[in-house]
């Protein structure tokens, strides 16, 4: 294994240890479990007119929960040890910093998106089970399959903004605030496009690209950190 690969793997493992020891690993259950349950309750009690609308509703609930988990865990993965100055220890170790941090962020993002993915299947299953298809129902405001994929772009955006903010502020709490603000702005712009009928797949794609750029910037900044 190259230095970069082994640093990636060892730090991914370190992030798993951190998540396990801090009990934060349970947060990964929230989008999958709470998202599905919340969606099921909405299906049963909100008289949703169609399966597709029920899916949209469930996806928004699951996405909201996944966003909160993504914000929290990304902020902590990057900002917590910078705030505590643990990096005075880890920066002196023989490993490329970029690969080390990338390994840790990957665990968080794969965990969040994976949990969201499980939630999506749960939402679809419950919508099909609890909502009866009516031919007269109005079409949903969004195509559920497009929304399901588009939300991944949103999660990447939130993770990227939060990671970049954590590298600047060196504080998990301040990074979390920055991520929430980023999410509010993105949701506002998305809603505006929806109302104006201009919401296309380019929007979540742009969010994903911005998020990946945020991660890249965070890694570069982390690599050059000196104090």
């Amino acid at each position: 294994m190259s230095d970069a690969t082994s640093a990636f793997v060892r730090n991914a493992r370190w992030e798993v240890t951190r998540l396990r020891r801090s009990q934060r690993v349970w947060l990964f259950l929230i989008p999958a479990v709470a998202g599905t349950i919340g969606s099921g309750i909405a299906d049963l009690y909100l008289h949703v007119p169609s399966i597709a609308t029920a899916e949209v509703l469930g996806l928004l609930i699951t996405a909201g929960l996944a966003s909160l988990v993504a914000l929290d865990l990304t902020a902590l993965a990057v900002g917590e040890e910078l705030g505590l100055r643990t990096h005075y220890l880890t920066f002196a170790l023989p490993q490329p910093r970029v690969s080390a941090l990338a390994g840790r962020i990957t665990i968080v993002m794969v965990g969040v998106i994976g949990s969201y993915g499980v939630g999506v299947f749960g939402v679809q299953g419950l919508a099909t089970a609890f909502v009866s298809a009516a031919s007269t129902a109005p079409p949903p405001i969004l195509v559920p399959s497009h929304l399901a994929i588009g939300i991944v772009g949103m999660l990447l955006f939130l993770g990227g903004v939060t990671a970049a903010a954590a590298a600047v502020t060196r504080s998990a709490s301040q990074a979390l605030v920055a991520g929430v603000l980023g999410g509010v702005v993105a949701a506002g712009i998305g809603s505006l496009f929806l109302i104006e009928g201009r919401l296309t797949p380019l929007f979540p794609l742009a969010l994903a690209v911005a998020g990946l750029a945020g991660f890249a910037w965070c890694l570069v900044r982390y690599d050059h950190m000196e104090s």
């Binding site: 020891r21 100055r85 005075y88 220890l89 920066f91 170790l93 490993q95 910093r97 000196e226």
Partner: protein, 308 residues
Amino acid sequence: MTLDGVWKRYGDHDALRDVHFAIRSGESVGYLGPNGAGKTTTLKLLAGIARPTRGSVRVEGLDPYRGRSGAGRHIGALVETPGIPPFITGSDLLTYVARVKGHLSGDARDAALRAANAMKVAEYLDRPFGTLSTGLARRMMVGAALVGDPEILLLDEPTLGLDPAARQDLRGLLRALSQKGLTILLSTHLLEEVQEVCSRVLFLRDGALVGDEPVNSDASPGVGQRVLLLRFATDVPSESLTRALGTGFELTRDAAREFRVRFSGGEAEQGAVLAAVIRAGLPLVSATPPEPDLARRYIERVGREDTQ
């Protein structure tokens, strides 16, 4: 390890100014200076945490900042006081460090245990950092620096927060490591720590190196020797004191009414010196061990702040 014409600038402040020194393999070097002198900055440069603004830093021939993976394998470093998340256990941390230093799974746990044993913290390995006392956490951190049996140790106030017994233990360990041939750079405010562990001392003031000399100078007592500072009420001719003391004593005049007497032996010989002076009727006011030589040199080189 070498620093060659190194400058480090933070904003408009020069933390290091044209610092040159080389530390040979197996040397134990104390690094002394007041707060803000640039000691930690130097350690950061050597550990690859920061890079010099100008000049060159080499560890085992490698640039520790650009060639982190190479130089870092030779180094065990404790720089400042890194905080560890309170839920992480000593075992988690030391095993992680061992893995990063290239140990495989079972081997990594063994390496972690060896380092913990050296610092006498093995029984606390499974406790989260949040439940450890400051001293235990510090010992665990020094243990992290020892993981993987590095050839070079960079230690920044390693005994900070340790109780006297733990300090003594750590100094003993550092002496043993030094005798084994480890290269040690020890930044501290405790002069006795340098005296006990190091053979050479570097003095730093305002980012500039102002002294590079052996820890034991000509004025220090040698092995099995003592030095007494005799103060008299009036001027005393050297000849009178030489006559009173007889042979086996080395006499130097420090000031008009002060003499430094060096002799071999212990308390009995010290008693003999005092008895001889009193017998000769010389107006002795006090007889005290002189201010430790390293302390005197520290004050001469860097000033009064921070000496302990």
